[in-house]
Symmetry: C2
Subunit: 328 residues, 2 copies
């Protein structure tokens, strides 16, 4: 059996089980291990530590054709900050592990670091260490980000409750639209920028935390709404109902979908890399939250009993089933 | 200018400067940023957090020919634990970022994790998260390890003092001898095992800490004694004098050097991957330490004024200059 046959999430499940068996008892101060946006452990009485790692590989996550080295540096850090945001936490420290082809000009490494530094400054995170090795092939950049949050304010993936409103920040499918535009040599700056320089929703997370709103479950939309919502429902042992008519999309995403003759749902449900947050909370908390965000927080469905995720259009169930992005 | 022209350490220096300029003021709770075995930040009043990342790349750090997947998994974690040991700290949590070719059989991933899990159990570290992506070429595994130590017990790279004894744990050059044996299809189990399954010197670090011995500077020997000692001297603004006659080597390393007609110094000074600790401390502390270790701690020289590292044989200076391992 090779990895393609098992699939990415099948692989992660198997590894999770191996580790659980291998390590026998988990330490008391581990709060979240494998299976959320970040690992979480107790720090002191006041905070828990949140730590996450993500990798970008040349030829898989980016190509030189569509992204500058500055874009790659920005994105390598931003995707991790997005995971920290999805825990409701504040990022603080970043380690960068780079594997570089030795024919690479130093100027390109400099540009990559310009992007990393720009992103670190914007989100008040510090680049404090790392590791550099040669690569026989593609460039690989892994970033580890560590941050913290008060334990009672931690947003888990597995806390969704039946009846919760499912809400998303910002707009969906725009990064996929941007990538499609790049592939067709079309210039749509907002969508392209969204693909190249994702915005981790730390500001949204902070605003919700500051207002004292209780988020039951959260995940960042890196693989696409359909797949990421499935992770939340699976972890929380719930189902969900999603109203396709209200998914927030930008006018340029709609235009590009029409122009390239792509069903809009493919991007809004299945397109990854938007790095918006999906949140579930009580209706009461959602109404409070709405006042903080105006149009930038959209209710798209509710958490339901059972295990199914049902997509509705015009009030009627559709047969839609869209898989999120999987590596294998 | 490409990376080969700048060199690994030239590259790291340039990146360090860029980050220092880009981030302007460093936060007060950052204790060590780039330029030691790990990054260190304040945790609470009692401890500091130590965090480090290291990457193994197929074709650069290992080949399928010479290491099993279990060996690769073990080593990927062990090299990080060695960095933690070199800070005098205790490791606790590990994140694993894997980039895998999709034609890879699941059984090989399982074996890789068997190695990771075995090493984690042996050194009481917990695998708590990570990330898996596809790789278009080689397998790349980056491990981030986080641990802690009391702030006054932290071992820095830049604390060597003139007159300090320079000591190393264990034996030098054995991993290089093991790799050479593998390349010549020779079986020398101890040396080969040393290359495949390095032992992070956490036990030695703990013993020294427990006995209350003050270590002024420490580094783990990953690139080779000559190069790693140079890092300590550069960071500490000192020189060093090393007595080549007393470098601890195993009989099998001596035999293999003779057999392959390799100058022994090339392995003991320039061979990397031994993952022993190099420590500097006062003579008084060294004498205390010696009682804890018997033959497993060897004084090899002293810290001197100036900036030069001089190698002596039979009491006379030699012209020896051996570069440590560099990626570029």
């Amino acid at each position: 059996m090779n990895l393609r046959e098992i699939g990415e999430f099948g692989l992660i499940e198997r590894i999770d089980r191996m580790i659980a068996r291998g390590q026998r008892s988990l330490p008391n101060d581990l709060i979240i291990g494998i299976g959320d946006d970040a690992a979480v452990w107790k720090n002191d009485f006041h905070t828990v530590t949140v730590s996450t790692v993500d990798t970008l590989v040349e030829g898989i996550h980016f190509t030189r054709e569509f992204s500058s080295w500055q874009d790659v540096g920005w994105k390598a850090l931003a995707v991790n900050l997005s995971d920290v945001a999805a825990m409701g936490a504040d990022p603080r420290w970043a380690l960068v592990a780079l594997s570089l082809p030795d024919r690479m000009p130093f100027d390109d490494v400099r540009r990559l670091y310009q992007g990393l530094i720009a992103c670190a400054r914007r989100y008040r995170t510090h680049l404090v260490g790392g590791n550099i090795t040669k690569s026989p092939g593609s460039l690989v950049v892994s970033v580890t980000v560590t941050g913290s949050v008060k334990p009672r304010r931690l947003w888990r993936r597995d806390g969704a409750r039946i009846g919760d409103v499912i809400a998303v920040t910002g707009h969906l499918g725009e990064a996929a639209a941007g990538l499609a535009a790049l592939k067709k040599n079309t210039s749509v700056p907002s969508a392209v920028r969204r693909y190249r320089r994702p915005i981790p929703r730390l500001d949204a997370a902070r605003r919700l935390q500051k207002a004292g709103i209780t988020v039951h479950a959260a995940i960042d939309l890196s693989d696409g709404l359909a797949g990421d919502l499935r992770h939340v429902c699976k972890a929380s042992r719930t189902g969900a109902r999603v109203d396709l008519d209200v998914l927030p999309v930008t006018p340029s995403t709609v235009r590009l979908a029409r122009r390239f003759n792509v069903p809009l749902d493919r991007w809004s449900l299945g397109g990854g890399e938007d790095y918006e947050l999906l949140l579930t909370m009580t209706e009461k908390d959602f109404n409070k939250a709405l006042k903080l965000f105006r149009k930038k927080l959209t209710p798209i469905g509710i958490v339901t009993p059972g295990r199914d995720i049902r997509f509705y259009r015009n009030g009627r169930p559709t047969g839609i089933c869209i898989a999120g992005f999987r590596h294998f």
